[in-house]
């Protein structure tokens, strides 16, 4: 399987995962709207190691789906179909999403707010 084929299905998988990942945002907003006690419960769950892991994976999925979407928009406009270009675009999606996730992780650790 070529990288473009793999990234095609990964785009769909990240989209499907984010479909349910949106529930994390829903929980976050509803907890904030409900009051200090509910928000503390949310923060305890999000701050646990499993919570942090899920948020890290969701962040990567979101960034990967975003960059993959931009790649598809470039293709929709009729550009980037050459053998070298399409490989380059696909590689950039993967490297970009991992790179940006690492940058956000470093910013998070540097802020040191839990």
């Amino acid at each position: 399987m070529t990288l473009t084929m793999t990234m095609s299905i990964v785009h769909r998988i990240t989209g499907g995962a984010l479909y349910f990942g949106v529930l994390l945002m829903t929980w976050w907003l509803l907890a904030a709207a409900s009051g200090p006690a509910d928000y503390a419960s949310f923060q305890a769950a999000a701050g646990s190691w499993i919570g942090k892991l899920v948020i890290l994976l969701a962040t990567w999925a979101l960034l990967h789906h975003l960059l993959g979407g931009v790649r598809h928009l470039i293709w929709d406009l009729g550009y980037g179909f050459g053998p070298a270009e399409r490989e380059w675009l696909t590689r950039a999606t993967l490297i970009g999403s991992i790179g940006l996730t690492v940058i956000l992780l470093v910013v998070y650790l540097a802020l040191g707010r839990g």
Binding site: Y19, V22, T26, L29, A32, P36, Y108
Partner: protein
């Protein structure tokens, strides 16, 4: 000349040809709205990430103050509405591609609609409550 030939072979009625909506009865609307929401989601997602990063570790009072401020609330609302519409369209395509059992397909497409509307209403309600503090 070729137009005349095509017309003689075309089984569609004149109304169908003029409406240009094809077998789906909605033309390219699904495709177009998928792209429309995708383009809108690019800047909105980046802003959402900045907002979320800013709020990590803050207490409830500070979170409410920031999420409830007009500019943040409006952008968050746009992000939520764009996202639920985008995922409603996307999940419909996934169901249509992989689920071939007719009853299961219809049930999942209905469930998809219910889920997306419920998520959208819940998030929108939370954001409005944070803004108006009722």
């Amino acid at each position: 000349m070729s137009t005349t030939q095509n017309n003689s072979q075309d089984m569609r009625t004149p109304t169908r040809r003029v409406r240009h909506l094809g077998a789906a009865h909605s033309g390219t609307r699904h495709f177009w709205h998928q792209r429309l929401t995708a383009v809108a989601a690019v800047p909105l997602t980046l802003i959402f990430i900045v907002v979320a990063m800013t709020l990590i570790g803050r207490n409830h009072a500070a979170t409410v103050q920031i999420l409830g401020s007009p500019l943040v609330a409006i952008v968050m609302m746009l992000f939520v509405l764009t996202t639920v519409y985008h995922m409603w369209l996307g999940m419909q395509v996934i169901v249509e591609d992989y689920i071939h059992h007719e009853f299961g397909k219809v049930a999942l497409i209905m469930g998809n609609t219910f889920f997306c509307i419920a998520v959208g209403v819940a998030c929108a309600f939370a954001l409005l409550k944070l803004s108006f503090g009722v």
